[in-house]
Amino acid sequence: MEPSMIDLKETVTKRKVTGFWRLMTGYRLIYFIAIICVGLSAIARSGLYYVLGKFVDEILPSANLNQQLIWVVLVLLALALMQGYFSYAGGRLAAKSSEGIARRLRNYLYDHLQRFTFSYHDRAQTGDLLARSTSDVDAVRRMFAEQLIGIGRIGLLFVVNFIALLLLNVPLALFSVAVIPVIMIISVYFFVKVGKAYEAFQEQESRLSNQLQENLTGVRVVKAFARQEYEINAFEKENMDKFQKGRKLTIMHSVYWPSTDFILGIQMVAGFYVAALMVLDGTLTVGMYIAYVGFLVQIIWPIRNLGRLIADISTGSVSFGRIQELVKVDQENLDMGSYRPTGRIAGALSFNNVSFRYDGEDENVLHNISFSVKPGQKIALMGGAGSGKTTLVNLLPRFYEYTQGSIQLDGVELHNYPRDMLRQQIGFVMQEPFLFSTTIRENITYGLGREATDEEVYAAARAADVHDVIMSFPEGYHTLVGERGVTLSGGQKQRVTLARTIMRDPSLLILDDAMSAVDTETDESIRRALRQLLKGRTTFQIAHRVQSVMDADLILVLEHGRITQMGTHTELLKQTGGVYRRTYDLQSRIEEELEADLAKVTAVPKNGKVHLHELPQAGD
């Protein structure tokens, strides 16, 4: 039974304590009971000593000792059971709350991160996001599981035993705890210090690991330059440093523990002495002296650990702060939008003076883009690196929001469409194919939103010309991809992502230079599959080669965020001096140059003639 998902946004508060309080929503009562249990356990334990004292005082000297003995034994066992049970229950409930709070945080952060905007992810570092959503969550978990409850335990042990001491004898009680404030101060001071030394030790450890890692990954270089001696010396330096930092930590501990041993030991024996004198002058009984010894031991020794718990809590609190920073970030709204058509998108688009700049940047990366597309047309985008091709297509699934102008899809302004609807209907094949480390089948049906039959999956894979490759793996479609499974080549990966796109049957298709990885491997069959896929869908294709864009209904040439040329292949070829024509000429020249180059060494190649790629003749 998990308490319902709360909106963790509420835990973002100015005061951390309030944040923690809200974080505990749904677990407050359990956690409170856990602390009560810890207190009851302390009471039972002190009760044990009290019963023991009473036994010595009243039962032992009495005449009918043997009849009463059974009761004492039973009470002792009952108290022990109580103590054990409550200590267990406290631990169990604390675990339930801390694990529950951690699970909720983990789930929330995981979901939260996948709902951030592209702009956020562009700037964020993977390692940092990961650390916040894993190790920082664990630090918060430990705070609830160990540190807060630990402080509660020490505090309650103190309260319970102090009350017991006060009931026994007030002056004796006050005398017995005299040293506690001093120990508390020393403890906190020590653990703060040792925390810093430990950090330095950890840093040295990671330096050492880096040194080692570099040596291992660069082993060829080390061997090629025969630099083993040098490497050994460099490692020795870091290794020695780590030893010294470790020794420093050891020395700190070897001073703290015996000195507090000494102080507390003296305090304890002094307590024994004063209490013993009280027995001698009749203020205390022998049995109560025995009980006193039990209380005293429990009240003074645990205090030494207080400093560690406090120091750990401050670490946990820093982690919580880092989590809060993440929670604060706004999510992208997926289902907001006034227009939600029931069927498929037809795919008519018109861009009207669209400009775009990234969040927090001053300069536009797209300037006054205007063009229009009929349903089912193929639009090719050409241009050098940084010309804005990818940015332009990223506007369509609303990965980014255009900052000026208007884009209309089927006659409706694009930002009136909910994002989830657009993304379901737009197929996006990215330049770098990304597969998840699960089975190939899972990858193909990824994000489909329904169960697919094997036939469908096979058909999609066949269309993407990857079925045979998949079947050659021992486990076929159930083969795992990635570290724990097979390693696919770039082209194979891209074909799997193509199969994934085919599976989704999108209304609008974006191919972001998707064929660059495929080109060299399997040419013709994949192109045929692609032509099949393109049929009847509005398609945006980013490409470099004239061959890939010639058949487009509209070719846009982008330079520095502006459309500099627009038209069909034939039209653009006529614009002599334009980039398109130049590209075409250069690509044609390649073959001529190759011919010339080969001719330098041989007039006639042995096996006949030079095979050249053919380009259609220029129009004029």
Partner: protein
């Protein structure tokens, strides 16, 4: 690769504690025997004093309080007080000795392993994942170091605590002591049972935790795909299954731990009840005093700590011994290539290189080269071409003697290179890798790696020759700029230039280069070309070539396919042959031209922007 990976799976536990491994671990500590003897003696004395303290408490009650004897009370209180300074010194002693010993053993082990790793042959590295080696030198070392120090300390403390407690109990009342002795095995059984189960649960927790991290990491790196495919809900669902597992196993491990102490305590309280029961009768008989009862109760409740500590040590000992076994397997690994005792350093390896009937295989039954014969005159440039993974680096590995021929002989200037030291060969070969590996540190440090005793002027001279000087002085701090881990702060082209300069500085007899496949800009490419020309001049060079200009200018081209040399000759010869090389060349020609074309378009844009 993936199968190898599985073989190197972590967490393989030997449930039996191997005696010889244990002894070898103990010897690590004995290397620093004063510390070891020190902490063992100190901790034994500490436990003796602890047990004595309880006895003193009894004497205070019986001799002082019950007997109403103030002087006896003062005597025992005085004695008790006097032990504290000694106790404190002993505690200081054992923490210091054990702590320092632990760090020292770890230091020794890291050093031994690192030094050993430097001598292992490349074949070992090719078979062993870096991560596996890393864990040996980091986490395994930690576990073994802890066992030698704190583990041994705990065992000693446990044993002496139990023995000394029993000793004092025996003095007080021997019949009662026998009851307690009978109780001990039960206490130990319960403790071990729980520790084992808790260990199993925590192992699951760790496993699930690494799955959670992997899942979170993948979702962050693939977030753009997740968003474009609208998979958020399904992913969260899958992730929730993991966090549910984590919750279950984390919760179970935690409540088992919470149950552990009460369970052990319950056994010991049963002991206390027995004492009370027995003492009732004995008290009236006069053989049991109030102080004795108090002492017995204290001893019994105290004894649960050593027992539970013993269970904990036993559990961690299993892990540490497994760690030890893995570490020792690394330390015992012998280098495949070892210099023969009479190996010499001929002073130079310039001259003719001969492959005489060389056969080679990485794996038995899969020959890569068979009866290969080749003579390369001094100063010749050899281009190795062919698809990735076809075995171009095999030739390089053999020349560098990273691997040795399985049959046949390789000769430098007529001399079998196995009669030379590895250092003599490898220190005279300059190498530039495709993805040049730089070490974190400054540009200077990296350049000087080529020749450690080079002066600053020589370093700059080499950088100038390689064409790296210009970009270096443009860096924020010039030659003192940090390059970052693996050189991440520099571009691939810049890294290549630096590693070229590094090779120039080393002034090698043989030069080997693996050209970068990833595109660098035309200017850098020209610079690299110029640097290479300087280096190759007068030296025998082997280039794993990707660029046409390099290939065409080579004296000899070797086409390597499916592990063997399929074609060999000059550019013109091979083109005329119209075979593999011909296809390779024409494909490469088109790609290079297209690349140049894109750059031309890019430049035009830059021009427009200005």
């Amino acid at each position: 690769m993936s199968e190898d990976y599985m073989e190197f799976e972590e967490e393989e536990y030997t449930s039996q504690v191997n005696k010889s491994t244990m002894w070898r671990i103990a010897r690590l500590g004995l290397a620093h025997w004063p510390l070891m003897v020190g902490f063992l003696v100190f901790i034994a004395l500490v436990s003796l004093i602890e047990s004595w303290h309880t006895y003193l408490s009894k004497q205070i009650i019986d001799m002082g309080i019950v007997a109403q004897d103030v002087s006896a009370l003062r005597y025992y209180i005085g004695l008790y007080l006097a032990t504290w300074p000694i106790f404190a010194v002993l505690v200081f002693g054992f923490i210091y000795c054990a702590g320092v010993l632990g760090h020292l053993v770890q230091y020794d082990l890291r050093k031994a392993m690192f030094n050993h790793l430097q001598n292992l042959s490349l074949s070992y590295y090719d078979k062993t994942p870096t991560g596996w080696l890393m864990s040996r030198v980091t986490s395994d070392v930690g576990r073994v170091g802890d066992l030698v120090s704190w583990g041994f300390l705990d065992i000693t403390w446990t044993v002496t605590s139990i023995v000394t407690s029993l000793f004092f109990m025996f003095i007080i009342n021997w019949k009662m002591t026998i009851i307690v002795i009978l109780l001990l095995p039960a206490l130990y059984k319960v403790a071990i049972y729980f520790k084992q189960r808790i260990l199993v649960e925590y192992r699951i927790v760790r496993k699930v935790n690494s799955q959670i991290t992997a899942a979170a990491s993948e979702n962050i790196t693939g977030v753009r795909v997740v968003k474009s495919l609208r998979r958020e809900e399904k992913n969260l669902g899958n992730f929730q299954e993991l966090t549910d597992q984590m919750y279950e196993s984390g919760y179970k491990a935690a409540w088992l731990s919470a149950l552990f102490l009460p369970a052990v305590q319950l056994v010991s309280t049963a002991g206390v009840a027995l004492v009370v029961w027995y003492s009732g009768a004995a008290f009236s008989a006069g053989s049991m005093t109030a102080g004795s009862i108090h002492a017995f109760v204290s001893y019994i409740t105290f004894m649960l700590w050593p027992i539970q500590q013993l269970a904990a040590v036993y559990a961690s000992m299993q892990q540490a011994v497994a760690s030890g076994e893995r570490m020792f397997s690394l330390l015992d690994m012998e280098a495949e290539i070892v210099d023969v005792p009479e190996a010499i350093d001929p002073g130079t390896i310039r001259g003719e290189i001969t492959f005489d009937n060389v056969s080679f295989q990485y794996e038995a039954g899969k020959p890569v080269l068979t009866n290969f014969n080749l003579t390369i005159p001094q100063g010749e440039t050899v281009a190795l071409v062919g698809p990735t993974g076809a075995g171009k680096s095999t030739i390089v590995n053999l020349i560098c003697r990273f691997y040795e021929p399985t049959e046949g002989t390789i000769r430098f200037n007529g001399r079998d290179y196995r009669t030379m030291t590895q250092h003599a060969i490898q220190s005279r070969i300059g190498m530039v890798l495709q993805t040049p590996h730089l070490f974190s540190g400054t540009v200077y440090d990296n350049l000087r790696y080529g020749r450690l005793d080079a002066t600053d002027d020589e370093v700059v001279e080499a950088a100038k020759m390689a064409g790296a000087h210009e970009f270096i002085i443009d860096l924020d701090e010039g030659y003192e700029t940090q390059v970052g881990e693996g050189g991440v702060l520099l571009s691939t082209g810049q890294k290549q230039l630096i590693s070229l300069a590094r090779a120039i500085l080393a002034d090698p007899d043989i030069f080997i280069m693996d050209e970068a496949t990833s595109s660098v800009d035309t200017l850098t490419e020209a610079l690299i070309q110029r640097g290479m020309d300087k280096l190759m001049h007068g030296r025998t060079s082997f280039i794993i070539a990707h660029r046409l200009s390099t290939i065409k200018n080579a004296d000899r081209i070797m086409v390597i396919e499916n592990g063997g040399v399929s074609e060999m000759g000059s550019h013109a010869e091979l083109i005329r042959l119209g075979g593999h090389y011909y296809n390779l060349y024409t494909r490469q020609f088109r790609e290079e031209m297209e690349h140049r074309l894109e750059e031309e378009l890019g430049e035009r844009e830059v021009a427009m922007a200005d």
